[in-house]
Symmetry: C2
DNA sequence: ACGATAGGCAAGCGATCACTTGCCTGTCAA
DNA sequence: TTGACAGGCAAGTGATCGCTTGCCTATCGT
């Protein structure tokens, strides 16, 4: 039962899984990667997940607004969007720690 | 089965729960709050959780290094520590977004 | 046209999570 | 010293999570 929602629940829960974090890492390098591309990249970095598993992870990331999905022919291209992370960067910092912009 | 761990798994999983995030919010205001103090503060902000539930949440936060617990008489005092969040603030930002320190 | 490629849908399963419940321990004030 | 206060421990439960499985759809090259 979710009594209070700070409006960022989907973002935080999306970040809670190491495979999803690895997917974000992979997407920092380049936008527009396909599902298969990300699958092989995950396999290269030691993440052994099936295509369906990775697809579901990307769905969660997309629902959180961290990844945008666009279709191009039979390809599903993924773009990273870090704007949902920005408010997260200042939260829980005390005034004296907010020395950046 | 956790194949890859980026070394921050406990931190991210600790942040995945809205009650735990609310506890961090409460601790930003002041260090050294007791369990009961945090319980009433949670109740005031609309989080309806039992003492045991909140205690368990604080344990998770402590395991992640986000909260430090010290004993004083029959009180259990909690201090916030945001240093585990610092590496998190730069991850997934593209080079052109890293304009702060 | 047809096989291969890229991806989608949904049911099911085991593991984990958040929480409750019941009882116990330690500390303080009177 | 004794009762109230602050917290601890651990088993149990229902819900959610991550993932698999099996099958289906759509798009491309030849």
């Amino acid at each position: 039962m979710l009594v209070v929602d700070d409006g960022q629940d989907e973002v935080f829960r999306a970040l809670a899984d190491p495979t999803r974090r690895a997917l974000l890492d992979a997407l920092v390098a380049r936008d527009g990667q396909t599902l298969f591309e990300l699958c092989t990249r995950m396999a290269d970095t030691g993440v052994t997940s099936s295509r369906q598993a990775i697809s579901q992870h990307l769905d969660v990331l997309a629902a959180a607004g961290l990844v945008h999905v666009r279709r191009q022919g039979r390809y599903r291209l993924h773009d990273l969007d870090t704007t949902p992370l920005l408010p997260l960067r200042r939260r829980w910092l005390r005034p004296d720690e907010r020395t950046d912009r």
